[in-house]
């Protein structure tokens, strides 16, 4: 089922004007920010399909950047996100993409972390009513909605990795609702995505990082309350 609960139909609470082109775009941006795990110093945004045709009218550009600042869909600062991001040192460019794309509302983000220089390429689709699917992360096929706390594990394709991951989950009492694994090639780099019923804790990510063959772990949770800016803008 593409839509899993009542609040994907009634909701989200959001700043207008479009649930797919504004709220959904903000959620894709926010998911990307959480995967990257830091403030993006460079954000290259490529729009496809209906996104490309109408992004200015719908504020899709502002919504994506607002998401990259970790704003929620009803954050009143969304309309001013581009100015806020640039003030924080984000170098932003928008392009209209060509070629094949998976959904009429598709955006591809290429981000470079400001502090670590880490890069991320992520493709997201906005499927209606503010609901999204992240379909590609660094060339790995995924299916990530952000509705549930989601753990992303970059690891090497190695016998028994999944068993050790699920064992950590079982011992920590984290129930897995959805799981996917994609690998570049046999014994090569792989990405496992787990949607959990409970929010992921630091203890959990720490333990996962300690497993052999695991290279990095990130957590996406779009229901998580955004960090409130205190006093001055948290160079978000």
């Amino acid at each position: 089922m593409r839509f899993k609960d009542v609040f994907s139909i009634i909701g989200p609470a959001m700043v207008g004007p479009s649930s797919s082109h504004t709220a959904g775009a903000a959620r894709i941006g926010r998911a990307a920010r959480q995967v990257l795990g830091e403030f993006p110093g460079i954000a290259e945004v490529t729009f496809f399909g209906s996104f490309a045709a109408t992004y200015q009218g719908h504020g899709t550009d502002r919504a994506i950047i607002g998401g990259l600042l970790d704003f929620a869909t009803d954050d009143h600062r969304l309309p001013d996100s581009i100015e806020l991001a640039e003030a924080g040192g984000m170098n932003i460019s928008f392009r209209q993409g060509t070629g094949l794309f998976p959904h009429p509302n598709t955006v591809r983000l290429h981000l470079t972390g400001r502090d670590t220089g880490m890069e991320l390429t992520l493709t997201g689709t906005s499927i209606g009513g503010g609901n999204i699917e992240i379909v590609d992360i660094d060339g790995f096929s995924v299916k990530l909605t952000g509705n549930y706390p989601t753990v992303l594990i970059h690891h090497m394709d190695y016998l028994g990795v999944l068993a050790s991951v699920t064992d950590v989950m079982r011992r920590g009492e984290f129930n897995i609702g959805h799981m996917s694994l994609d690998r570049k090639n046999r014994s090569g780099a792989a990405l496992t995505v787990l949607e959990l019923d409970e929010p992921a804790t630091e203890a959990l990510t720490g333990e996962l990082l300690g497993l052999p063959a695991v290279k990095s772990v990130s957590v996406v949770d779009l229901n998580r309350k955004p960090q409130e800016q205190e006093g001055k803008e948290e160079t978000p």
Binding site: M1, V6, I9, P12, V15, G16, S19, Q56, G129
Partner: protein, 292 residues
Amino acid sequence: MNFRTLSELAVLCEERGLSIGELMLEEQSAESGRSTEQEFATMKEYYGVMKEAVHRGLHEDTTSRSGLTGRDAQRVAAYNAAGEPTLGGPAGTAMAYALAVSEVNASMGRIIATPTAGSCGIIPGVFLSCQERFGWDDDVMVYGLFAAGAIGYVIANNSFVSGAEGGCQAEVGSAIGMAAGALTELRGGSPAQAIHAVGLALKNTLGLICDPVGGLVEIPCIVRNGFGAVTALAAADMALAGVRSVIPSDEVIQVMLEVGSAMPEKHRETAGGGLAQTPTGRKIMQNLRSKK
């Protein structure tokens, strides 16, 4: 959720002796792992946002950033009060309220997507006007929102709720169906009657394209919300009077999927056709571009 279709939903309600709204609250709690009290409270908060949006749309400046729309809800409300409206009465109020919320959305105000932002006026328009008229308290309305959500959940999973996928029928059409079914239940109709209301309403919007001028959620989205609220009231009345959707509502949803899938891309939220590409629509788009 333990149902995939509207007919399964009706059977489940009957088996458990629950209304659609009550059933959806239980199903939601089971799905999320949060208590029914928590889920109810979240929905109640959302209803508060809807009320606030109606109020803002009736009293504040809702001129959109493009300057193309705004204050139409206030025009309709004033005409309802002072003139001799043909529609008038509760339907006129529902229409004004629906316009109000849609105009708040277009001016980048805060709304609840029901099921989308483009169609966010219909459910608040129907719910608030009927609440005032029938004196229902907020808790009754919150159950109504769960009922609307259950109907929307079925439509979304069997067809679509975004204009880019299925045209305006998927957004405004779905919202009218949701509002009509929920209102039928609120007025004392059975789950079966509520589901007939959904089918009756959906049939009236099949084929509606998504052709926003300049790509903005303004023209024709806002007035379609006003019309949509009135249609929902009509569909609920038909269902309560005993009119049935001879083609079962689940089959109507499949028609929406068929029609939307066959819809050309230019009529699915790309501003590449329809009203957006009329001579005036094109001129407006050019003016918007040169303003930037």
